[in-house]
């Protein structure tokens, strides 16, 4: 099977990445401040909705039903988009999606594209792939812009520059904006309003000049062929409406059956994500507008493999709200880069190894990047039982050699009852030699526990000797 690429190279295992990250006190400070702020906001707007539990249950059920009938809804979506004047392309993996998008951009004769923040295009490394074809992709979301200008990697699903503070952002703008377009003003300060204004001026030029845009979608409505994007800055709407060609790369799990289903998700997503009652901009479009070309690229890239897994498939319900990241004690300390994937945090710990497989040491370590405290499950707006999936994945990851050797030995003993009986008799005879404390590094375990006593004879021997207690 080919290895699914998730926007970042899988390198060192999580514990080593995390150990390095927690030594960065600036990073820990930025993360702690940001996650706690969003967490508190989410808690207060969720508490405001008396029917949150019912919304969550409906969200879970709608997603589960859609996934159960995914083939049917994908075909319905394709028909509706086509009927509305859009063109639908299917991409089995990231490389194919990148080829399709590059081909579409080349056909327009353009070499520059503007982008709406999208996890799917990050997952497939679209910007890098386009660059190989001589096409420059400009990120227009403020945080994505910070990451792109800083030649950095995203560390959060929603706020990819969460690891940066405003002084760092000012420096990035002052140093790198000129290389990408309109430079930052000479007297740029680290006042948030000044930073936002510098980004606004820098981006405005870009919006008006560029004739091709690439987006993802939060939802795709099968019934009408409508794409839905939720955002906070208005940059998305500029990209969706101004250019002549619009290309949307959308994971196959983003489909929703009906327009009505939005009444659930437009309540669940903003409250879980930014802690707002409603996000400032919600754009919907159906097919191609007059004078515009619209292409929808439906992306698999490992998703059907996840769908086949009885326990793991629930990860496909994810609506990328990032509530699980903000609430996770491990994420709060280690930060997003430690997860080595564009999907960090608890959802990343179950999604990445499922999409990418568990060949690398990093991917095998991800299911352990959790204390199993369950906070992620509690805040998940579509009730993904992340701890259960983590435990299931742990059982499947290849374990370290001492553990495997021990398990192999135990397997050999239990395979034949004679072997077990001989070992039990040997144990019974040597019982006086068993120490109260384990030696060496294992001693830590027995510091606070007693080793169980080895019985004189096994139950089976006792049964044979006494004929079940009758002799």
């Amino acid at each position: 099977m080919s290895v699914t690429f998730l926007g970042m190279p899988a390198t060192r295992p999580f514990p080593r990445n995390a150990a390095r990250a927690v030594r960065d006190s600036q990073l820990r400070f930025n993360l702690r401040k940001a996650t706690r702020t969003i967490r508190a906001r989410r808690a207060s707007v969720v508490a405001e909705a008396p029917d949150w539990a019912e919304l969550r249950e409906a969200g879970r059920a709608i997603k589960e039903h859609t996934l159960r009938n995914l083939d049917r809804y994908l075909i319905q979506l394709e028909e509706a988009v086509t009927a509305a004047g859009g063109r639908v392309h299917w991409a089995a993996d990231g490389a194919e999606a990148n080829r399709i998008v590059a081909g579409l951009v080349k056909a327009t004769g353009e070499t520059e594209v503007v982008k709406v923040k999208s996890m799917a295009t990050q997952e497939i490394g679209l910007n890098e792939a386009l660059l190989e074809h001589g096409i420059t992709a400009y990120e227009t979301d403020l945080a994505e812009l910070i990451v792109q200008l800083g030649d950095d990697r995203p560390s959060h699903i929603l706020v990819p520059a969460i690891h940066r503070n405003r002084a760092e952002i000012r420096e990035i703008f002052a140093e790198h904006m000129s290389g990408w377009g309109r430079p930052a003003p000479e007297d740029l300060t680290d006042d948030p309003a000044a930073l936002a204004e510098a980004a606004r001026l820098h981006l405005r030029e870009r919006f008006l000049k560029t004739r091709v845009a690439i987006s993802g979608a939060n939802f795709a409505i099968a019934e009408t062929g409508t794409m839905v994007v939720l955002e906070s800055e208005g940059n998305g709407r500029m990209c969706l409406t101004l250019p002549r060609t619009l290309i949307s790369v959308v994971g196959i799990e983003k489909v929703l059956p009906t327009w009505r289903d939005l009444e659930v998700f437009l309540q669940l997503l903003p409250r879980s994500s930014t802690g707002e009652r409603m996000n400032p901009y919600t754009s919907t479009w159906t097919g191609a507008a007059e004078g515009q070309e619209f292409h929808l690229v439906l992306l698999d890239n490992g998703r059907t493999g996840v769908l086949a897994d009885e326990v793991g498939r629930q990860a496909l319900r994810c609506i990328r709200c990032s509530a699980c990241l903000n609430v996770c004690p491990v994420y709060e300390r280690a930060g997003g880069h430690a997860y080595g994937s564009v999907y960090p945090g608890p959802i990343g710990a179950i999604l990445t190894p499922q999409l990418r497989g568990m060949e690398s040491e990093l991917d095998r370590s991800l299911p352990y990047a959790s204390s199993l405290c369950g906070a992620c499950y509690e805040v998940c707006p579509v009730a993904i039982d992340i701890p259960s999936v983590l435990v299931d994945l742990r059982a499947r990851a290849r374990h370290p050699w001492p553990e495997r050797a021990g398990m192999a030995a135990a397997g050999w003993v239990f395979e034949r009852s004679g072997r077990l009986a001989r070992l039990q008799r040997a144990g019974g005879r040597l019982r006086r030699l068993v120490p109260r404390r384990l030696p060496g590094p294992l001693g830590g375990w027995t510091d606070t526990r007693d080793l169980p006593e080895v019985p004189r004879e096994s139950f089976r021997d006792w049964w044979d000797r006494t004929d079940g207690g009758r002799r």
């Binding site: 029917d51 409906a58 039903h65 995914l70 089995a92 309540q267």
Partner: protein, 99 residues
Amino acid sequence: MSSRDLILARVRRALAGVPDVEITRAYRGPSQTPGEIRLFEERVRDYRAVVHVVDEAGVAERVALSLAARGARRSSCPPGSPRHGSPPRTWRRSPTTRR
């Protein structure tokens, strides 16, 4: 095999024997209480918008005041925006263009 057929085949294989689920919509529907304008006002203010409550006759003046406060001399309106009286002389309606 096209990628379309490949993906659909993979989906069908993955779903073989998986039971469907029922969707329960026990959440609140649209609010039935009229006159929640106060709540709306409060919510919009919460997003740091400046809210003015005026009667119909006061709309043109209010718009003109807000534009003047920004120092705006031109404004653009999409087709179909309400025309509340004639705009004050300080600003003029620019022709809207169609693509």
